[in-house]
């Protein structure tokens, strides 16, 4: 059986076109972009070209709004801590949805230890943020509100334009983590009313080791990493030219092919969901319609997610889970708990994220493997006893 990789939310292959484009920056145009000689300038040009391509993907005002970082985690840290600390005279409050990535929540928790107020906005059972609650707890002291464009674990797309109206009305800056959404669905930072936006190279089929933060003109941010003053002083450290050049090309391709790829993936996703939900006591997690085109996520009663992952891997199908046993903290996914699942329900999750290699021919194989996996693990499980009677 061929390998069927369905864990694109965790890691994506680099597109061969991206690799071909960026390869010269490893060995030929290898200069330090801060060097003024010709080899340095070749590298500098690659970075500026990438900046422009990325600005295009999100319809930014100009390319200078894009700050390159080493990862999306770093971009989120810069957005949260860099903005909160730079604007401390405006207020000492930060807000995030309960389903944000840890690289948003943990910097906010650290700010909280240092005297900031930190509140989370709950989500409903489909993962959509509670706009009324957001409206009620935002104050003029709220310097950063962070709501993701779409969630990586449950695929739900958030109502960013409505969020933005509320933040504009009551708070200061809106930060949007768009790692899961970028390149999948159209994003327009100007129309959406976004002040800061996080992107990841690898989630666009670019190389790992690059991320970016969009900073709207006029938004004040300070660096969280000090040094030689690269990236307008916001991210010191010699640029990873290969990864950045690749990220730019990946963004260009994603922008060009988004519509076509999304039209191709949605029927595959929907067939997969329909087939897998035929399994008894299986449930879709996340929103039934407002979801990312490549995202299908489930939970199965009476079984545990790490076992699901290992069992699916035996069929050479790679999936993800929000189970505690697969995490470093041994806690179940905070996202699954936030949508109201009990711990024992959150343990039995399976996340499938499709990509350019996924085809409709994979659906019967994945559905059959899911069915067999769930059956086998339920036969081992003491918890399905009552259900079987």
């Amino acid at each position: 059986m061929p390998r069927i990789y369905l864990d694109h939310a965790s890691s994506m292959p680099v597109d061969s076109r991206v690799f071909d484009f960026a390869k010269p920056y490893l060995m030929k145009s290898h200069g330090n972009p801060s060097s003024l000689h010709s080899v340095g300038l070749e590298a500098r040009r690659a970075i500026e070209e990438a900046r422009s391509k990325i600005a295009g993907l999100i319809n930014a005002e100009n390319e200078n709004t894009i700050i390159f970082t080493g990862s999306a985690t770093e971009a989120n840290n810069l957005a949260v801590k860099g903005t909160a600390l730079r604007n401390i005279t405006q207020g000492k409050a930060v807000i995030a949805s309960a389903i944000e990535h840890m690289s948003v929540l943990n910097p906010m928790k650290e700010l909280q230890k240092n005297g900031f107020s930190f509140l989370t906005i709950p989500v409903d059972s489909t993962g959509v943020v509670d706009l009324k609650k957001l409206d009620s707890i935002l104050t003029k002291n709220t310097v950063v509100t962070s709501i993701m464009y779409a969630n990586n674990e449950i695929g739900t797309i958030e109502p960013i334009q409505e969020v933005s109206k509320i933040v504009k009305d009551k708070g200061l800056y809106l930060h949007v983590d768009a790692v899961a959404a970028a390149g999948r669905i159209p994003i327009d930072v100007q129309k959406d009313g976004i002040d800061l936006l996080t992107l990841s190279s690898n989630d666009l089929y670019g190389p790992q080791g690059a991320g970016a933060l969009y900073v709207k003109p006029g938004v004040k941010v300070q660096s969280v990493l000090l040094g030689g003053g690269q990236e307008r002083g916001l991210r010191s450290g010699t640029e990873n030219v290969f990864a950045i050049a690749g990220m730019g090309e990946a963004a260009r391709i994603a922008q060009q092919e988004m519509k076509q790829e999304s039209n191709r993936l949605i029927p595959i996703r929907d067939t997969l969901i329909k087939e897998i939900l035929k399994i008894e006591k299986s449930h879709l997690t996340g929103h039934p319609t407002q979801r990312l085109p490549h995202h299908a996520s489930f939970r199965f009663s009476y079984i545990e997610g790490e076992s699901i992952l290992l069992n699916m891997d035996m069929y050479d199908i790679q999936v993800s889970t929000g189970s505690a046993c697969s995490s470093k903290t041994l806690e179940p996914s905070h996202v699954l708990l936030a949508i109201g699942l009990k711990h024992e329900e959150a343990h039995g999750s399976m996340v499938l994220t499709l990509g350019r290699s996924t085809s409709m021919d994979d659906v019967p194989l994945v559905s059959k493997a899911s069915y067999d996996t769930v059956q086998r693990l339920r036969n081992l499980s003491p918890m399905s006893k009552e259900w079987r009677k």
Binding site: L310, A324, E344, L380
Partner: protein, 128 residues
Amino acid sequence: MTNVGYSKKVMEHFMNPRNVGVIENPDGYGKVGNPVCGDVMEIFIKVKDERITDIKFRTFGCGSAIATSSMVTELAKGKHVDEAVKITRGDVANELDGLPAQKMHCSNLAADALHEAIKDYKNKKQKK
């Protein structure tokens, strides 16, 4: 390479667990863990002349939870109950060529389930 996934032996027991199932009217029954934590194991034993003649388990949990359950039933089968009760979590992990560090505590409850089953057997015997 101790931190790279599970050993071959763990995966072999996970994919082909031994002694799965239920024994009706067991001489001893032990259940440990909690669905909230993500691990529940139950072990059933049949005992004749103080020897474990049959043993079955059922487990809800991760790969190591299933593999350790399978292994502990293999280790205990045929043993005198006083020998079987000495099987430790460490013995089970060693027989599986080790477990990842973070799994040593949370998912290595199989020996505890066996001890509970033997305790249950001894309690029942006393009452007779």
